[in-house]
Structures are given as structure tokens and as C-alpha cells.
């Protein structure tokens, strides 16, 4: 981002410097080089003129002397050819010098003008001498040489010229000197000017050089900044833990991605890879299709990114990836998708992938350890208030129950009703375990048994059953058995602890004494009823009679039966205090349990002063459960209707709670009684009471314990 903002700015400065240097170059050419050239040329011209002027400075005087010489020669009749020659040369060179001076900067000077005028006049008087080409002498008879007429004229011209030139010369020389002076000054000034020009040229060049240097520096810095930002981008992509990449309109991965991607997906090349190829084989086909659709939504304008985050199908996915060895491992990836908008459309979808395996596993472990931690604590707390021998007794019974469950599960069966009868059997056994666990307040066992029952309930609701449906039950059974094993171990340790603390003899004696009455004690029953009543928001008291006479062999079966009836009585029978008071009853419900022996055998009576059983309620519940057709229900006598409660799977309570409502209670009691070759009957009066009577033959007392 920062890079993008800086570079146009730098480009502007670069462009400004370029323009500046171009202006400078033009300036150097226009202001320094061109005038310098002109100046140098005029300087050269002035110099030439100056040289000519100084060369010709003596010419006027030479002319005077030459004319004098010519005149003398003419008088002595000597040879004049060389004089004439010399005159011509002087005149010509002076002509040339003057022409050069006129052409120079000095040409416009008044002095030069004047000199030119003077010379022109002088030149006119000299002309006859210069252009003379006749014979000046002739030999006479009188001996000697005489002047020819031409010669005479020449002599006259020479005289005239001498007079003029002699008079004119100082002025001419003066003018020439002044012109020379001017030219000298001019040359000196020109040189200064040229020096200044050259100096400014050098300066301008230096500035130009500096600018070039600066531009180069700027460019270098720009390039360095670009390189740096590129490196930084690279560093970021190399070190982030998240996998980043862009998806284009064709859902292909762009040219840039973070290195973490390679670690996450165990592959090297991603450029141009289609998103579907990346995930093919890692997630289910359906998930992949849903994900592609989801990305499609992001490319569309209609859906709001924030509002569809919740339905990202790859928010957390389980994938199977090759591990460092040759195998595959399960990992958890989190994908996040963001729109990347261009000018007017969505250009890319930015995808972030994070491997959250560690945190997912950690969270799971934490949950498990919390569960098992609280489980262990619950277990320990639950066991602390249970007598170890009572617990031992329970464990033995529970194991026996589960053994039955195991046997039932392994029975071969094919038919649907066979399966269903298996479920009913298992249900009864489990319910017994649950009931005893509840009595001993072993919440952990109770909860597991309840969870097991949930599975059974779910199976029972299925229209069709197969052998495979029972597989999860084996697992549940193992779990329950393992839990009982853990309880056993802990119980052993507690026993050892106790043994160490009390004398071995006393402990053994106490143990033998309590073994006879593990369950059917008034205290245990009252405690169980209290707990149950509290959970139901009710109040109940237990009145017992003769329970101490229950023979050891009947402790377990009758204990289970009483427990079940007590559960039913508190949950279904006894009303809440407010209801009871409104019906003119005592606020606290009463349950009476009485055991008696006679010559024919023994009997157990169980009575609560609760709401009683209403036949019609039972009938409609039976119809609802499909146990009876409405017609059958209509014809049913009340006495027959009451027997419905002994049917497997019958309950009037809609919602299953750990305490009651699975309808398995009374059929378990009926089964127990049947196993003891006994009979059970029910008497009830709506609003007043419900009473169960169990009668057992005398013979069973000794047999039951062995069964």
C-alpha cells in the first residue's frame, strides 16, 4: 500500500528533474554555447583586424618615404621600377587591411569611417603612381638620360602625391591608432565576456551533472524501495502461518501464495491450479461442490460477505492429507474467503487456510479430560458415601446384569420381532442397573446406563431392524463394563484404606453383618426416595415394616422390585404438595412398604397415597403407543386396563428422564416376580392410593440366591 502511494510521487519528481535538465541543456546551448560561438567569431575577427591595424600602422609613413625615394630616383634618373612595385604592394596591403577593419566590429566606428575617407582621397592621388606602366626615361644624343613626357608626368604626380600623403599621413595614422585602440579594448572585453560565458557554461554543466546524479540517485532509491517492498512481501509470504492465495474468475490460484500453503497441502506448485483440484480427494465431493458454490456467491454482487460467513462450508473441515511418512493423517483446516474488489467488480477471492489440527485436538482433549476429570471426581464423591461392601454387592449384580445383556446381544437372530424382543430384554437388565446405581447415588453409572437406554430407545423407534444396528450397543456395553471395572478398582483401594485404618477383625465382622441387608434398609430407601422427590419437586416419607425379615436370597430381586415401584410411586403417584393440599391431603406423601412371612411363603405390599391410576389414561396411552386399537381399548375392563402397566415399553410419561418415564419399570417388576414363581396384583383408587401386592411361594427363598 505504502509503495503504491509513494511511487507516483517519485515519478513526478523524476519527471520534474528531467524537464529541468532539458531546460538547462537548452539554456546552455542558447545562452552559453551560441553566443560564445558568435563572440569567439567576432573576437577572432577583431583580432585579425587588430593585427592588420598594427601591421599597417607604419604603412602611411612607409608610403611617404617610398614616394620621396621615387622622386629622388626620378631626379637622378635611376631605376624606379622597384619603387613603383613597392608602392603598389603598400597600397594593396593597406587596401586589404582597411577592408578587413571595415568588416570587423570596428567598421562602424567614426574613426574608421574617417580613415576610409582619408585613404580614399590619398588613394586617388596615389592612383597615377600605382597604375604607371610607361617608360619614364629616354636616352638622348646629348648624352644622358632624359625624362619622357610620361616620366615628367610621373614626377609631377609623385610630387603632388608626396605633398598630399605627407599632409594626410598623421591624420590617417591617428585614425588608425584610435581604431586599433578600440579593437584592443573590444578584444579585451570580448575575452572577459567569453570567460564569463565559459564559466557560466561550466557552472551550468555542473548543475546538469548534479541533476543527472540526483536523478540517478532517485532512480536507485526508487528501485531499492521497490526491491525492499518486494522482499518484504516475500518475507511476509514466507513466514505467515496461514496459507494465502487469490482465486481468479476461473477459480484458479494466482501467481503469489504464502509458503505455509506448501506445508499445509504437502505440494509445491500452486500457480494456475484450480481450487477444485487443490481439494479433490481431501474433502467429500459434496462439500467441494458446496464450497465452489459458496465461492460463486462471493463473486456475485448480491450476497453480503459478512452475512454469509456462517454458511461457509469449509469453515472447519476434516481432511485426509499425506503425512511426513508414506501414510495419511487426518487434519483440520479452516478456510476463510474474502472478496477483493477491483475498480468496478470483484477481481479475486482471497483465500486464507489455517491448519487448526492442534487446537481442534487440544480442545477435544480438554473436553475429554474435563469430562473424565469431573467423571472421576463424581465417581469418587459418589463412592465415598457408599459402604464398600454394599458397593461390592452392587458391582457383582451389575456385572451379572451386563453379562445377560452380552449374552442377549450375541444370540443369533434374524427376524424383526426377534430383534425387538432382544431390545426389550436388554432394556430390562439395564434398567435394573440404572435403578440400583441411582439408589446408591452412583451418578456416573446411572448416566451411562441412561445413555445406553437412549440408544435402545432410538433403535426401538426404527421401522426396520438389522443385526448391524446392534453394533453400537456392543460399544456402549464395553464402555459401561470398563466403567464398572474402574469403580471396582477404586472400591478395592478404598477397602484397603479402610482395612488399614480399622482393625481387620472388626471390619470383617461388620462386613458379614451388613452383607445380609445391602438394599432393603429403611435408611437407604428413604435416602433414595428423598433424592428422587427433590428432583421432582415433591415431598415424600417412607414407612417400612418387616423389611429386616427379608431373607438374603430375596434381597436382590425384591430390592430391585421395590426400587422400581418406589420410582414409579414418586414420579407418577405422589402429587406435588400444592396439589395434595388442594385435595385435602397431607402435603407430604407417604409410601408404605411391608414384608411379611407366612407358612405359604412371603408377601410384600407396596402402597402410596398418591393420585392412583386412572384406567382411561392407561388406555389412551396404550392406543397412542400402538399397543391397542381404539376399539380394543374401548372394550377393556378397568382391571384389565391396570394390567397394561406390566406390558413392556409402556409409560404414560411423555418425556424420558433418568428417574422414570420409559415405561420399563413395572414390566421389570413383573418379570422379577415371575422369575421367583410369584404373583403380582394391583389395586388403586383414583386420587387416593395405588397398592401392589407381591406373593412369593415358600420354596423360592432358598433357590433365588443361586439363580
Amino acid at each position: 500500500m505504502r509503495q503504491a502511494m509513494r511511487s507516483p510521487f517519485m515519478m513526478l519528481r523524476g519527471r520534474g528533474a528531467t524537464v529541468l535538465s532539458a531546460v538547462l541543456i537548452a539554456g546552455i546551448i542558447g545562452v552559453v554555447l551560441l553566443p560564445g560561438y558568435r563572440l569567439a567569431r567576432s573576437l577572432a575577427a577583431s583580432n585579425t583586424a587588430l593585427q592588420l591595424v598594427s601591421e599597417q600602422q607604419s604603412t602611411p609613413e612607409l608610403l611617404v618615404r617610398e614616394i620621396e625615394l621615387l622622386r629622388d630616383r626620378l631626379a637622378t634618373r635611376s631605376y624606379v621600377g622597384r619603387n613603383l612595385e613597392e608602392l603598389r604592394r603598400l597600397v594593396t596591403s593597406y587596401d586589404q587591411a582597411l577592408a578587413a577593419v571595415r568588416a570587423s566590429d570596428a567598421g562602424a566606428l567614426a574613426e574608421v569611417q574617417r580613415a576610409v575617407e582619408l585613404w580614399a582621397r590619398q588613394r586617388a592621388t596615389l592612383e597615377p603612381l600605382v597604375s604607371f606602366s610607361a617608360q619614364p626615361y629616354v636616352d638622348t644624343d646629348r648624352g644622358g638620360t632624359a625624362l619622357t613626357p610620361d616620366g615628367q608626368k610621373l614626377a609631377a604626380d609623385a610630387r603632388k602625391a608626396w605633398q598630399f600623403v605627407r599632409a594626410n599621413t598623421p591624420a590617417l595614422i591617428g585614425q588608425f591608432e584610435r581604431a586599433g585602440e578600440y579593437l584592443r579594448r573590444q578584444a579585451a572585453g570580448g575575452a572577459d565576456e567569453l570567460r564569463a560565458l565559459l564559466l557560466s557554461g561550466v557552472l551550468a554543466t555542473l548543475v546538469l551533472f548534479a541533476i543527472t546524479l540526483y536523478l540517478q540517485l532517485l532512480k536507485g532509491r526508487h528501485e531499492r524501495a521497490a526491491r525492499e517492498s518486494q522482499e518484504q512481501t516475500r518475507d511476509i509470504l514466507r513466514s505467515v502461518k496461514e496459507g494465502f492465495f487469490l482465486l481468479d474468475a476461473d477459480m484458479r490460484i494466482g501467481a503469489v501464495w504464502s509458503d505455509a500453503l506448501a506445508t499445509i497441502f504437502q505440494r509445491r506448485e500452486f500457480a494456475g491450479l484450480a481450487f477444485e483440484e487443490l481439494l479433490a480427494g481431501l474433502v467429500s465431493e459434496k462439500t467441494l461442490q458446496t464450497a465452489v458454490k459458496y465461492i460463486g456467491l462471493l463473486r456475485g454482487e448480491r450476497a453480503q460477505e459478512k452475512l454469509i460467513k456462517g454458511i461457509n462450508p469449509l469453515a472447519q473441515v476434516e481432511v485426509r492429507l499425506p503425512d511426513l511418512g508414506a501414510g495419511v493423517e487426518t487434519r483440520y483446516l479452516e478456510f476463510d474467503f474474502h472478496r477483493v474488489s477491483g475498480q468496478d467488480s470483484i477481481r479475486y477471492v482471497l483465500v486464507t487456510v489455517v491448519d487448526v489440527t492442534a487446537s481442534v485436538l487440544l480442545a477435544r482433549e480438554l473436553r475429554q479430560s474435563q469430562e473424565s476429570g469431573s467423571g472421576q471426581t463424581d465417581l469418587l464423591m459418589g463412592m465415598l458415601h457408599v459402604d464398600p461392601l454394599q458397593l461390592d454387592n452392587f458391582l457383582a449384580t451389575a456385572r451379572a446384569n451386563l453379562k445377560v445383556v452380552n449374552a442377549v446381544l450375541r444370540e443369533p437372530s434374524r427376524e424383526d420381532d426377534e430383534f425387538r424382543s432382544k431390545i426389550a430384554k436388554i432394556f430390562r437388565e439395564l434398567h435394573a442397573v440404572k435403578g440400583e446405581a441411582a439408589l446408591l447415588r452412583l451418578g456416573t453409572v446411572e448416566a451411562r446406563a441412561h445413555a445406553f437406554e437412549d440408544v435402545l430407545q432410538e433403535l426401538r423407534a426404527r421401522p426396520q431392524l438389522t443385526g448391524n444396528d446392534f453394533l453400537p450397543l456392543l460399544l456402549k456395553l464395553d464402555e459401561l463394563l470398563a466403567h464398572l471395572q474402574a469403580l471396582q478398582e477404586m472400591s478395592m483401594r478404598l477397602l484397603e484404606l479402610r482395612a488399614a485404618m480399622t482393625s481387620a477383625a472388626a471390619s470383617a465382622g461388620a462386613a458379614r453383618g451388613e452383607m445380609a441387608a445391602p438394599m432393603l434398609t429403611p435408611g437407604a430407601l428413604a435416602e433414595f426416595a428423598d433424592g428422587l422427590a427433590r428432583r421432582c419437586g415433591k415431598r415424600v416419607q417412607i414407612v417400612t415394616e418387616g423389611l429386616e425379615h427379608v431373607p438374603p436370597a430375596l434381597q436382590r430381586p425384591l430390592g430391585e422390585a421395590v426400587l422400581q415401584m418406589l420410582r414409579n410411586a414418586v414420579v407418577h403417584g405422589i402429587e406435588k404438595s400444592s396439589v395434595r393440599e388442594a385435595a385435602q391431603k397431607t402435603a407430604v406423601g407417604t409410601v408404605r412398604i411391608a414384608f411379611g412371612r407366612s407358612s405359604e411363603g412371603c408377601s410384600l405390599s407396596f402402597e402410596d397415597d398418591g393420585a392412583g391410576i386412572v384406567a382411561d389414561t392407561l388406555k389412551s396411552a396404550a392406543v397412542r403407543k400402538g399397543l391397542l386399537s381404539p376399539e380394543e381399548a374401548g372394550q377393556l375392563e378397568p382391571r384389565q386396563a391396570f394390567r397394561l402397566i406390566f406390558q413392556p415399553g409402556f409409560s404414560t410419561q411423555e418425556e424420558a428422564t433418568p428417574d422414570a418415564g420409559r415405561g420399563v419399570g413395572m414390566d421389570l417388576v413383573a418379570k422379577l416376580v415371575r422369575e421367583l414363581s410369584g404373583r403380582i396384583s394391583v389395586a388403586t383408587r383414583p386420587g387416593r392410593f395405588t397398592r401392589f401386592e407381591i406373593r412369593l411361594p415358600a420354596a423360592v427363598e432358598s433357590v433365588a440366591g443361586v439363580a
Binding site: 459458496y294 456467491l297 453480503q304 459478512k306 452475512l307 454469509i308 456462517g310 454458511i311 462450508p313
Partner: protein, 134 residues
């Protein structure tokens, strides 16, 4: 239900579609955005179309599983009737593919049931903020 007149004063009109009376009332009571006015509610897709034609809402909250006409079909109809309508799907559906189908049909967002008051208001605010489609 009267809505203040004038384009500057005009509040966004919200219709609530859900087959549960409880949820409808919950949404109506919970939404507390001053820029929204509930103009109608419906218990199924058919009814929703009828209420939509009558009240011309700008925003709609839409359940997916409803009798008569389900949410996805209803969304398609509503978008056909008024392309610029913005629809928030509010559903307990665990199946993301169905939710995505609903968005593909033209809904703008998805809110999972059960939701807190805050979640609902934030989602509605977000929905109201989307620029109108041309």
C-alpha cells in the same frame, strides 16, 4: 402500518416470513433499528407473496422450511417481483448446501437459528447497508 412519507424520511420496510408465530413475534419485538419499519409478516410462502405484493417491503427475513411454498422457492418469486429486494434467510437448517442454494436464488445473507437479539440486529443492519442493486 403507516410509514412516514417523503423520500428523505422513508424508513426501510421489513417483512417477516416464518411459519412459527413465536419466531415472527420475536423478530418483530427484537429488531430495534430506527431505520426499519415492520410492514407485514407471513407464515408460509404463498402468504408471503400476497403480503409482499400488498406492502412492497425493501427487506425480508425468510424461513426456509415452511408449508405451502418453501423459502427457497419464495425467494426466487420475490426477487422476480422486485429485483432490488434484500432477503435475510433465518433458519435452523444445519445443511449449508441448502442455505447456499437460498443465497444463489437471490437472498443476501444467512442468520442461524437460534440467534441472540444482538445477532439479529447486527444482521439486519448489515442487510440494510448493502447498496441498492441497479
Amino acid at each position: 402500518m403507516p410509514v412516514p412519507a417523503g423520500p428523505a424520511m422513508r424508513r426501510l420496510r421489513l417483512m417477516i416470513v416464518d411459519d412459527s408465530n413465536l419466531i415472527r413475534r420475536r423478530i418483530e419485538r427484537t429488531q430495534s433499528l430506527p431505520e426499519l419499519a415492520v410492514v407485514g409478516s407471513a407464515g408460509n410462502g404463498e402468504e408471503a407473496l400476497e403480503v409482499f405484493r400488498r406492502t412492497d417491503p425493501d427487506l425480508v427475513t425468510m424461513d426456509l422450511t415452511m408449508p405451502e411454498m418453501d423459502g427457497i422457492e419464495c425467494i426466487a418469486h420475490l426477487v422476480r417481483l422486485k429485483p432490488e429486494v434484500r432477503i435475510l434467510v433465518i433458519s435452523a437448517l444445519a445443511d449449508k448446501a441448502t442455505a447456499i442454494d437460498a443465497i444463489e436464488k437471490g437472498a443476501s445473507g444467512f442468520l442461524h437459528k437460534p440467534f441472540t437479539d444482538r445477532q439479529l440486529n447486527e444482521a439486519l443492519l448489515e442487510l440494510a447497508r448493502i447498496p441498492q442493486h441497479a
